[in-house]
Symmetry: C2
Subunit: 244 residues, 2 copies
């Protein structure tokens, strides 16, 4: 089977690095198609790599040794294990959601997925256009949390609202009159964030409750992952009161 | 004057890009030594660049046109304005501080500085060894907030405590018994965070109040900028209650 640089159109994506590939094997073994090991990998000396290969044997996953996958997928040469896995379409379950409208940065999306998994939010809606959640950069920045969170794409916010009419929508925008600290939280709900550079259109105020995370005038805005992280923390913090 | 790639030993650092250089000129004009403009810059067509050059004329800042600085400092070639500025040693003022013990990632430090400025925390202590806060990568990731925040380096946490004995120290660590949501906040205080990979040594519990930001077992930990951002939000949120 041919190895190609990742493209949105491909049916597979990749985990670059031993730690991330180990997460893939443990969280989503049924999706793994192949594991590539570099001839330069220190199989005997690296505990991580030998443990990973043992796990592949246990699960009966195909392991291929060779340079080629690394030349194509990791030209910088600081990676010795790559996992190849089938992409699957996911559907959101009812409950608390994060809704990202036109997110454009792969690293940001990965960080957000990691934080969402951390706060027990397992469902993220992306309103198109938006960065591809299977991009290897997203998977890497999520540090494997991408295998714990369902990401579903919607053509428009209207499509999303039709599927989840019971969710109360909170739209995070700088021009909102009410701060997060004074916002009454109702569930099920959706925390809605706009694009990194442009935020949410003003029209969202007509069908969402607008919320602002107040900050000083020394910065234009918090970064998107930071704003989303603080909102997720605030909306879920009662869940962790008794311990986990 | 020679142009060199940034090194910690140099007396100057650089802002790469027009927006960041504009922040430099407005926030710290006294520190600016030169502004470089690329011959490929669209001076007439770019509003940002022409506004920046006008501001340089008003302030009497020297502007040099030429390729050389760009070849050395921004080899990727997607940058048309560079600011050169003198580094100054800063000293913390009393009050609420963020204390970073051995932070290692430049992008993370920049993000943390941006968030600190956003929540009105103008003082960050770094316990050595730690990443250089004047590294152009830090300045860029801070999006200019580096010009609003004082960063001071200390040889050890003991040195820091001797200077600020009145500050109550909160040490953020996964093994802390009390969650952030149940922590009583006293001021003046210091929010203390460890290295990205290793966290804080257990010994910090003997002189700090340990605090944990509870999260699910789906992730090992929140990222350092996310944990610091959530802590800063929680410790300062009463300040913004009445608006800003």
């Amino acid at each position: 089977m041919k190895i190609q640089r990742y493209k949105h159109e491909l049916g597979v994506s990749y985990t670059l690095g031993a730690t991330l590939t180990y997460e893939l094997i443990n969280c989503a073994p049924e999706s793994v198609t192949r594991i590539f090991v570099s001839p330069s990998a220190d199989v005997g000396g690296s505990e991580g790599i030998s443990r990973l290969l043992e796990r592949c044997r246990e699960l009966g996953l195909p392991v291929e040794e060779g340079d080629k996958a690394f030349h194509i997928l990791s030209p910088k040469g600081n990676c010795f294990v790559i996992g190849e896995f089938r992409k699957t379409e996911k559907r959101l379950s009812p409950g608390m959601h994060l809704v990202l409208v036109n997110p454009s940065d792969a690293g940001n999306l990965g960080t957000i997925i990691r934080t969402a998994a951390g706060f027990g939010i397992g469902n993220i809606a992306i309103i198109r256009p938006g960065v591809d959640s299977y991009d290897p950069k997203v998977v890497r920045a999520s540090m494997g949390a991408a295998f714990h969170v369902a990401v579903e794409y919607f053509q428009s916010i209207e499509n999303y609202r039709e599927r989840f009419p019971e969710n109360r929508l909170y739209a995070f925008m700088l021009s909102a009159p009410v701060p997060l600290t004074e916002t009454e939280r109702q569930e099920p709900c959706s925390l809605v964030f706009g694009n990194e550079a442009t935020g949410l259109p003003d029209g969202y105020k007509s069908f969402c409750q607008p919320v602002v995370i107040r900050h000083s005038g020394k910065i234009d805005s918090l970064s998107l992952p930071m704003a989303a992280g603080i909102a997720m923390y605030e909306f879920t913090k009662d869940r962790w009161r008794g311990g986990i």
